[in-house]
């Protein structure tokens, strides 16, 4: 019965033009939509507790952590920990490693799914296309632990199949232990694992191209290559720009887990990044305030990059996130 009442109320609100006080209106809308509020409330609570309360806890970066007084009770020290980080001997290396790894991931990892999607889109035979898609999506579902485990067994210089190939080509290099191999191994394995999956979004964009465009290109005598150049690529440019902005917003967010798992004492000089350092300083050695400051520094730079790239894209192409 309550349901029926709220429904009639809804009709009243909608169609009677009687002016009402604002607060009364808000309360009434809560009553009218109480079912909707009940349905979204659990999600709001979870997000509020586990995402917004830690944002409030960010002030820890400006305070001395005192475990008797909690996150917000410590003494205010301002930018002390940020200064400490910027002055620390680790700062230059951490920034350099983080930027090198994420730039390499963007430069080589970003075009890979685009090229792959264009190639797959050219395949005419349906079943072969399906078989390729199924195969290239698959590695995306392998866990990072297993992925790094695979890298270790396949690239091992003594017993791995890739290790054997590399040494038979005459290179004397241990792909797992040398500093110069870390970034290439990281980036290439990342492309191997995710390029297929990331191509789905481009394939979807290509699938939505108006077939009349292909027909008229054919009538104009365009070669296959010209069709790609003048029909396919323009069709995916908006998607490319959006994804590029998003990836620039993550410039300092190198995946923690994979790097952490790939780290070993021999590649540490090039593999220690901000995310792994935050973990080691904070969780392992309990320097909470210092670690929180480094984490916040990272988040802020990402945020600035995101806004900057979005601004540039908006000016240049009129495409933006918001």
């Amino acid at each position: 019965m309550a349901v029926a009442n709220t429904e009639t109320e809804k009709v009243d609100v909608k169609y009677s033009q009687v002016p009402k006080k604002k607060s009364a209106k808000i309360i009434q809308s809560f009553i009218r939509d109480y079912q909707l509020w009940l349905m979204i409330l659990p999600a709001i609570i979870v997000i509020f507790i586990f995402n917004y309360i830690p944002m409030y806890g960010v002030q820890l970066a400006f305070r001395e952590y005192d475990f008797t007084k909690g996150i917000t009770g410590g003494e205010w020290v301002g930018l002390h920990y940020f200064k400490q980080f910027i002055d620390s001997y680790m700062f230059a290396d951490l920034m350099k490693n983080t930027i090198v790894i994420s730039l390499a991931t963007i430069i080589f990892g970003f075009p890979a799914p685009i090229i792959l999607a264009i190639i797959i889109n050219q395949v005419v035979w349906k079943r072969w296309k399906k078989a390729i898609q199924t195969t290239v999506y698959l590695p995306h579902f392998i866990s990072l632990v297993v992925m790094v485990g695979m890298i270790n067994v396949l690239l091992s210089p003594n017993s791995g199949v890739v290790g054997h190939i590399v040494s038979s080509l005459g290179f004397d290099i241990n792909l797992l232990a040398s500093e110069s191999a870390f970034v290439p191994v990281y980036v290439l394995s990342d492309i191997w694992q995710h390029a297929g999956w990331n191509s789905i979004i481009y394939l979807a964009a290509l699938a939505s191209v108006d077939t009349q465009l292909y027909d008229s290109a054919k009538i104009d005598g365009a070669s296959r290559w010209q069709v790609i150049r003048y029909v396919d690529i323009p069709a995916i440019v908006p998607t490319m720009i959006i994804l590029f902005i998003l990836s620039m917003g993550n410039i300092l967010n190198t995946g923690f887990e994979k790097i952490f798992l790939m780290q070993n004492p021999l590649n540490l000089p090039v593999s220690e990044v901000i995310a792994t350092y935050v973990y080691k300083i904070g969780i392992i050695s309990n320097q909470f305030s210092y670690s929180a400051a480094i984490g916040l520094f990272n988040t802020l730079i990402n945020f600035i990059f995101l806004i900057l790239m979005n601004y540039i894209a908006k000016k240049a192409s009129n495409i933006s996130l918001w």
Binding site: I132, N152, V153, A207, E257
Partner: protein, 300 residues
């Protein structure tokens, strides 16, 4: 060959097609061969694998790796924990995400835009590891199995995908018609929206499920007790803590020891055993992928 359509082909187009075909074979092999190699290596004689004799098919058939794995209780405890976390976790995920996405898809719901911002903001800004860790400590989720299930039970990306799907598949007229017949939001959601949304439920269900199955971070940060650790932490110990470097100096030249070879065979087996459940589900859900991601891409 039906690979190439016959009509209206110039020579250059034909060359192009052949080029594409070769490229596809190449891509296919690069992705598929490492996976195939791990399968055959896991059932081959470890000495033959280590010396590079096993390339195209298993040689010196041996189930040594698997028998070792079946005797290792760590793996089974990890397996059991991960199954519990995955099943309960995915159920909670769907229970929270689907109704929330439905609400956000109702255009007549006034608060919708503000709530959307409330959710999307968390994609771009977060408190970071340490404040989150201290919060977990405060609410007693450290060393507690619920840390796998409650804290990140709403993934905003999946929420947006689902919302966009509801928006496009449940037109306003449908709800209005149902409303005329006295249908409430609860009834509409349960009896009309959900049955019409199998595709998106499968897709985000799979995303959540794989996320739980592959979750390594939560166990690493928030769990101390080994009996609560998920499979991925156990895998890390087996696959990575016994790294190539553990056998000695670590420089590459030394010949792999006898023990290392057996360890490698166990590793190949562990990779298969731990990934099998995902591989079994994959073909069933795969047909929804294109659809699922396309929905999400409409509005970011």
């Amino acid at each position: 060959m039906r690979l190439f359509s016959k009509k209206g082909k110039t020579t250059s187009d034909l060359i192009f097609d052949i080029f594409i075909f070769i490229l596809c074979i190449f891509i296919f092999l690069i992705i598929a061969y490492p996976l195939y190699f791990i399968v055959i290596a896991s059932v081959s004689d470890s000495t033959l694998v280590a010396t590079g004799k096993v390339t195209l098919y298993p040689k010196g058939f041996s189930l040594f790796g698997y028998t070792e794995i079946f005797q290792d209780s760590r793996i089974w405890i990890g397996y059991r924990n991960t199954i519990i976390y995955t099943v309960v976790g995915t159920a909670v995920n769907l229970l929270l995400t689907l109704p929330a996405a439905y609400v956000l898809s109702r255009k007549e719901f006034k608060a919708r835009r503000y709530l959307m911002f409330f959710f999307v903001f968390t994609m771009f800004f977060n408190g970071g590891l340490i404040p989150t860790y201290l919060l977990m400590k405060e609410v007693n989720l450290i060393n507690n199995m619920w840390v796998f299930i409650i804290p990140f039970s709403v993934n905003v990306f999946n929420l947006i995908i689902t919302r966009t799907f509801f928006e496009s598949s449940l037109p306003k007229e449908l709800f209005e018609a149902a409303q005329m017949d006295g249908c409430s939001h609860f009834q509409f959601f349960g009896k009309i929206a959900l049955p019409l949304s199998k595709a998106v439920i499968s897709v985000i269900g799979l995303y959540y499920l794989v996320g739980h199955w592959n979750d390594f971070f939560t166990g690493l940060i928030y769990i101390r007790d080994y009996s609560l650790q998920p499979l991925q932490i156990v895998l890390r110990d087996i696959l990575l803590s016994n790294q190539v470097f553990s056998e000695g100096a670590g420089s590459g030249g030394a010949a792999g020891g006898y023990a290392q070879r057996y360890a490698d065979q166990i590793k190949y087996g562990v990779i298969i055993v731990s990934t099998l459940p995902i591989l079994i589900i994959y073909p069933f859900i795969q047909k929804y992928f294109d659809k699922g991601v396309m929905i999400g891409s409409v509005k970011g």
